[in-house]
Amino acid sequence: MDFLTLIQIFDSTIRLATPLLLACLAGLYSERAGIFDIGLEGKMLMSAFFSAAVAAVTGSVWLGLLAGIASSLLLAGLHGLASITFRGNQLISGVAINFLAAGMTVLIAQDWFQQGGRTPSLFGGARFEPIDWPFAEALSGVPVVGPIYSELLSGHSVLVYIAFLAVPATWWVLYRTRFGLRLRAVGENPAAVDTAGVSVVGLRYAAVAICGVLCGIAGAYLATALQAGFVKDMTAGRGFIALAALIFAKWRPWHAMWACLLFGLLQAVALRFQNIDLGGVVIPVQAMDALPYILTVVILAGFVGKAIPPKAGGEPYVKER
């Protein structure tokens, strides 16, 4: 395997890790505040559709992004209403949101565009274009550093950079700000937050809203940057992989990035090497495609060490009697 192939694999690793990373950080905010969210998938899917649809109709990818975020926020609000205000079961609410998104997107798409549940292909200003860093072209000839700069770092859409900048930003918010302290506290012991005179409900809604925005960006990235339009079920379980990465990362932002890159790498390898020949035994493409999902199962089965979730996670806050 030559150096350029390696660079290309890492390049697509970054592309494929981006939606995972955004969704993973989304889940991090929500779960650190004590609201489990298995509806990441649904929120991404909803946003993928609305961003593609609005971008297709208006020709502006930015309007598409806004529409995507708004639709994802709406579902996040629904989850908040069910699990914070009405103290319902957070898993059931998440499942409902996933089903709702899977069905609604195709239904509206078919009614709106009559293309079999997809949106028209996006082009020009209706897509996020790669951003070339200065001198990328000129430097590409320099050995080693050149390809890393021009191929690996340069030439991604703005959303990729946002996703990776969100990692240090999240770390900073979580560990260096008052909001972060309270957010982490409300996921561990909401009664401590309540008796300290801070609104548990307010904090949790804020966390769920941030989760909605990040899922919205993740969905928009899928439909308007990674691909050119919405197709049915295009999230393909990425929301769940993001959850696995979140557990793998033990709810910490930097670890989340590495976990998502690992999953991205597996997806990139599966794309690049469709059939691997190991001295007579050919590993079929389906097995390669299944790799990220197999890793998900392995992680969720707890083979990577004990992951201790936020202590109050999944529990609606009720003042005890």
């Binding site: 008052r178 302290l181 009664a191 401590a192 300290a196 005179g197």
Partner: protein, 509 residues
Amino acid sequence: MTVPAIELKGISKSFGPVQANKNISISVAPGTIHGIIGENGAGKSTLMSILYGFYKADAGEIWINGEKTEIPDSQAAIAAGIGMVFQHFKLVENFTVLENIVLGAEDGGLLAPSLAKARKELEDLEEEYELFVDPDKRIDEIGVGMQQRVEILKALYRKAEILILDEPTGVLTPAEADQLFRILHRLKEEGKTIILITHKLREIMEATDTVSVMRRGEMTATVKTSETSPEQLAELMVGRKVLLRVDKAPAKPGKPILEIENLRVTDEAGVERVKGIDLTVRAGEIVGIAGVAGNGQSELLEVLGGMRPATGSIRLNGESLPLSGPGADGQARRARHIAHVPEDRQREGLIMEFHAWENVAFGYHRDPAYQRGIFMDNAALRADTERKIEKFDVRPADAWLAAKNFSGGNQQKIVVAREIERNPDLLLVGQPTRGVDIGAIEFIHKQIVALRDQGKAILLVSVELEEIFSLSDRIAVMFDGHIMGERLPHETDERELGLLMAGVAGEAA
């Protein structure tokens, strides 16, 4: 006359059909320690939670320092200078002491300046009140006594002038409790007003200036502590005369039932908790094991109850008892007529979400009396439960109520009823009256003595010296996995036992 620091006027509060507080009025003078005493479920905690804004009263007024104050939430209470130390601490366990103190009282959006300021102020507070804690230790690394200090510091950091403590000594060792009361006196000297909620008469008599008594949601009396007596308070609490000492005839010990030789227990972490003890319990006697929590008593009980493996030898009625492997579990122990009232009734004695009648079956669910073919005979089980509820005066007398909806005392009565009614040869009892109100304590003690008088052997483990003294016919003191000595209750006193509990060996027993 000085303006009262706190005045509550006509507070009422209901939870569904249960009226927890009925038209309660109370007035507390500034710079005093005011006790509120009452049985579990009398409404003490509810009243104080209203004052702290944790619950909202249905009716009534709160006056702080002579001004009518609305307290819709905890934030308002903090602003009014009220701090509360709850019975179950409200701390974030994986945060440091400093982070817990700052939480909710930060000075701005960024943490670093808040933490630096808090660290400095904490040093001053620690000096002033002699409340030393390491600000950088995580809460789950420090003991409960320290955690309680953190709660007090949290309140002081928020400039509390009025401090409410809800059952503060429930989780403390006697030494820690003494320390707490020294701190409270110190706070009082500094002019703070303190409200102490408790059901322990001794604490009221020792620490308070005035005391209010609550019974079934009503305030029955407010008196000066110096002008009352424990007997009078007990009567006001329960509504009838109460025996504070257990009335029992001298024991008539018979043949040895339980014989322990060189018992050793190593815990999950590989630490040896019981280091070779010998102990005999005879028929018709109560042997009490005294000691500060964590000196191997719990492990001893768990071994006997079949919850933990051990090495050495235990004989029951002269026959050896397996200490590990099959035959060493709770089921097998029960088959050998050992009944066990575990130390932590909420975790080991009951399933809190289950009905009372289901809880009565646990451990005995294979009893043929509860079977009908391959099915459980729930009707028979419920009838049996109702009989036990009546005999043990469990309130409310409702077999369908979930265990969690009974008060601590009544939960314990359910466990005690289940175990004693099996007529065991050996009864193991751990902390039988922890978090239990006076009326229920009296009742449970009587039941234990009655079992003894039927010629059964009883092994009691308790951290309450008072309980050890009043129940035991023989006292063994445990320290660091060893039995430091055995004493007869009428030949020893609290001072001597206290020394043994601290590991200071007396003359050979």
